[in-house]
Symmetry: D2
Amino acid sequence: MVKVKIVGAGGYGGVGITELLLGHPQAKINALVDVENPGTPISKLYPHLAGFCDMMVIDPADPKANEPVDVVFFSTPDGVGMKLAENELKKGAKVVDYSGDFRFNNAQSYADYAKRIGKTDAHASPALLPQSVYGLAELHRKELNTNTKVVGNPGCFAVSCILGLSPAVKNDLIEITSIICDCKTGVSGAGKKPAPTFHYPARYDHMNAYKLSGHQHVFEIERELGLMSGKDIKVTFTSQVVPVCRGIMSTLYGTLKNKKTEAEVLALYKEFYKNDKFVRVFESTAPVGSPHVRGTNFCNLVVSVDERTNRLRIVSYIDNLVKGQAGSALQNMNLICGLPENMGLERPGMFP
Amino acid sequence: MVKVKIVGAGGYGGVGITELLLGHPQAKINALVDVENPGTPISKLYPHLAGFCDMMVIDPADPKANEPVDVVFFSTPDGVGMKLAENELKKGAKVVDYSGDFRFNNAQSYADYAKRIGKTDAHASPALLPQSVYGLAELHRKELNTNTKVVGNPGCFAVSCILGLSPAVKNDLIEITSIICDCKTGVSGAGKKPAPTFHYPARYDHMNAYKLSGHQHVFEIERELGLMSGKDIKVTFTSQVVPVCRGIMSTLYGTLKNKKTEAEVLALYKEFYKNDKFVRVFESTAPVGSPHVRGTNFCNLVVSVDERTNRLRIVSYIDNLVKGQAGSALQNMNLICGLPENMGLERPGMFP
Amino acid sequence: MVKVKIVGAGGYGGVGITELLLGHPQAKINALVDVENPGTPISKLYPHLAGFCDMMVIDPADPKANEPVDVVFFSTPDGVGMKLAENELKKGAKVVDYSGDFRFNNAQSYADYAKRIGKTDAHASPALLPQSVYGLAELHRKELNTNTKVVGNPGCFAVSCILGLSPAVKNDLIEITSIICDCKTGVSGAGKKPAPTFHYPARYDHMNAYKLSGHQHVFEIERELGLMSGKDIKVTFTSQVVPVCRGIMSTLYGTLKNKKTEAEVLALYKEFYKNDKFVRVFESTAPVGSPHVRGTNFCNLVVSVDERTNRLRIVSYIDNLVKGQAGSALQNMNLICGLPENMGLERPGMFP
Amino acid sequence: MVKVKIVGAGGYGGVGITELLLGHPQAKINALVDVENPGTPISKLYPHLAGFCDMMVIDPADPKANEPVDVVFFSTPDGVGMKLAENELKKGAKVVDYSGDFRFNNAQSYADYAKRIGKTDAHASPALLPQSVYGLAELHRKELNTNTKVVGNPGCFAVSCILGLSPAVKNDLIEITSIICDCKTGVSGAGKKPAPTFHYPARYDHMNAYKLSGHQHVFEIERELGLMSGKDIKVTFTSQVVPVCRGIMSTLYGTLKNKKTEAEVLALYKEFYKNDKFVRVFESTAPVGSPHVRGTNFCNLVVSVDERTNRLRIVSYIDNLVKGQAGSALQNMNLICGLPENMGLERPGMFP
């Protein structure tokens, strides 16, 4: 039994991993920790959990919050996990952090990221960076093993873009200066904190682009694709929000170096993901949409070649809260705990 | 292992029971039958099932569709199950029918219903009526046993109303002429067939009352409450549709015969449902809403007494496609197959 | 030209009256006043107004905010208008207040209301109460004339209920102890301030009842119906919110004193509203829904008699932000300024 | 007074122009024609029009449908207008056609389009093509004059893309082989006919790309941009649908030929549209979204330069049913009838 602690348990990232762990046969939640709402049962914050998980949310200072566990999930903003991880590791835990704190496994790369998101401070635990692993199992499965101590769980947009572009980059199909990521997210990606732009009357028939000057997820996309290609890669990235609750649809473009038919590219994509349970590859005529991954850990990729313009186009669908967050986190936990990768994640979702 | 056949597999009722059966440890789907889309994999109709259930939907004439099974779910309109049930019973199956065909266990009661919904024909299998059981486990658990052959699965609105009113009627709390059921349903209650009134642009910011002259579910509410009270009961019933996908919120009113405090009524409701896993009773200040039952087999009841007008008011929440349809159907299957009542149904749903 | 000042200009009530006044041929906005966002153009808060109204929102202390005008709209919470109205009257303005401050034209009635909503203080300007008029033109058109100085603009739920019930109460059709108002509102009724319960991900597939212990609008319903009938009336009132942006659907019930057919009641309703441009009366089979009044000042009433239970049922639809707020306010302004009642209000809305 | 006939009056395009004409001071609807629902008042099909327009929808064979008028709007599918236009012209009318029939003013260009959309037949009235004008006033205002007889009203996606890209193409800012149009539409773009993919339960939390092999609007984008640049232009175009009712958000990409700052490009865009009432240009940090153009004839353009990748990015917002259809049609009518271009179109919309 894997004993688990969730820090930041009251947010969408926290409740997401809680829901998944409740259906996991080899995990047990030891503590739900949050600076907000300590003393409140999680099932009061999330009444659908009543009878399934009625544990109290506790303060970080609570003794129970400091008991040793096997895995700690930090569902916390940038800057939290990096300060607390070391102490957890000392107590024998492994750490899966949802923020950007451990997504870059060297100090320079982290510093570039930190600067870009407006953080000038150095990393609080630079010694941990070289041992941290970017938690996208499809690319880093070998490094995500029982020796792994720290996982930087990937950003939701990044998951959709990296999975969509990796086969093309790895196979050197596209001009690396030509990559565009046009990404649309559901509103849950913004978390549970109310804000004017996510107020129902202001959002219900509303789509818009935002952060046009730069989204924080672009750096891990560039870093992962760069590592893969051995070259410096810069992408144009557009973040947009549309009135769905759950889901990301990223439409990814790149100019083909050499003419390829859709069938050829499709074959390469299927080959690339042939051992990846959670990635499904479709031809361009398949009727794929975000509901087909809603509530699941799947990434659905639609492959299309625009022969008129010699351009590759991939449409990548995930549930931002599952494959884009808690699902990947659990997939990572399984791997670093030596459990079957898909344990507790094989569920088809619900329709409609 | 319970071998199951689903007739009408391509509709929302069919895919709902399929989703649930995929997570049920003691059931196995033997055939998915439908007159529409035979030859199409169910996972093409419902792509979220890809990799979980890729069985072909087959025509009723297909030999595979006629293999003996243990349980047949008829997720079909009024008039279908009554014609096909007998043959299934002869082959040794038990039948759970989603329509009104078996909700009335005597010919007169059925005839009243049939007339009201505009059907003048007599029941096609009147001999089966006396042995059919109204499939609301909370009221008819004893009759839903391994000897039961035919279950009339209840209507979605009826589930919400009957569960909400039973403790009051059983305890003789309210004037039986005073009952009003003000019911709001999500759009999925109308099934998967497109229609102008459910077209997204026409429905997205739209709420309305419909069938003001009478909804078919009112008869089973009156019959069940009547049987319980030993009196003839007539209720005013208003069906309304609001732009949610899943969920029913029924607000139920009755004049109290004698003054009662909310605490007294609450205690009676909790006592009434103390052995019912899937009914949760709340006080009037509890923040309960339809998402708390979405995707689950729960019915959440909020008890309120308006002391100024001496009126009882119950707000009853269910997921119309689960407790209001496939979930109750599976609960019934469990009971009539001698399995634990909640097998395959204990899931908390997902939020947001 | 009527010179107008809007206090509380930055909220939904403020922008609603601003939108209407921009299309009104005899009105001119002199000042937009708000304690929040002073110094910001209204078209920055509401970018759809760019080029139509780019006036600055100004602080109440701004000299411009204190210039004399003809009409002041107080789109402010309870307790604000009552303190500021007198000063405006002295400067020669008339006042239309959106809150409960002037909906009760005697001190005792106001005190009952104030106590119920948890305000213990006495009215700040009791001398104004006897001259205030409840601003529902369909009932109080005669009192809303050029001599009127103070109007208490009605609550949104109250508009829908009072218009729906008045013909029945006036014609003594129903038992006055039997009245139930089952009301559903769109989310914009809560205003523009974000809150957890109106956060898009938490609201999008969510319906719920709230304030079961008593909503503030119930008192004006009881008062208006009481004045009309000459009797003390108490109603059971249920407020519910569903995921639409704009719209109220109130389903109103009352037991008929004497048998009436739907046709008879329909005739009475049509007669009652024969001179009311903004009330449309429909038979029970008419396909009426909230979009048919969205963006308009209309109230659509569907008349239904449940002969099986001898109960009258009226379904009343309004746009909560127009007929339920700014539209009624403008209708009142027209009347007290001697303008045609429907000036600036005759627009059909937009579909879909 | 301009006498108008609307053919295809029962669809969203028909009701859209009807709504606008009702508020137009110089137009009068003479006939509403449709092959569906003849004999039904338009206000029965669209109840929000009750009291504003209760005209009967009439069959094309009805004598009233054949009375001479000044302007005929064909809100009909491809292939209808081209057959009926000539007869209308003979009777003295001008024609504004919503389909692709008159968007290409030479036979070869039309033939290329027709072939691509799967129509092999030649144009039914090739003689009319040279005199037809592409009805985007911002580009073709001079040709849209009182001598103009036939207008090909533009496609909704095309409006958003052409307005967004024209200043860049005209000023030779971008590599013409680098253009990508990533377009998202609301569901009303599909018209009023119900279909499984627009059924509320299947659409409400659903976004997807479609027609990846080619959307019909791409040809007019390429033709208009090609005419402007004097070169053959091919674009990659992605059509996507998201669960909003009204709105298009097109994100447009092109590689800059020479380095430009956002400020420089912004200045060029503002200059380009300085005389265009209905185009508003914003910097990249402005909080612009689809609600700001909803219900209006505006196009909001957000200008952004990604200096890291040397790429221009324009986000273009319109209401697909107004500027993308009926609004442009009315703007065209105004121009070809010698009326002020913005007559009947100056409305700010409504929020929320």
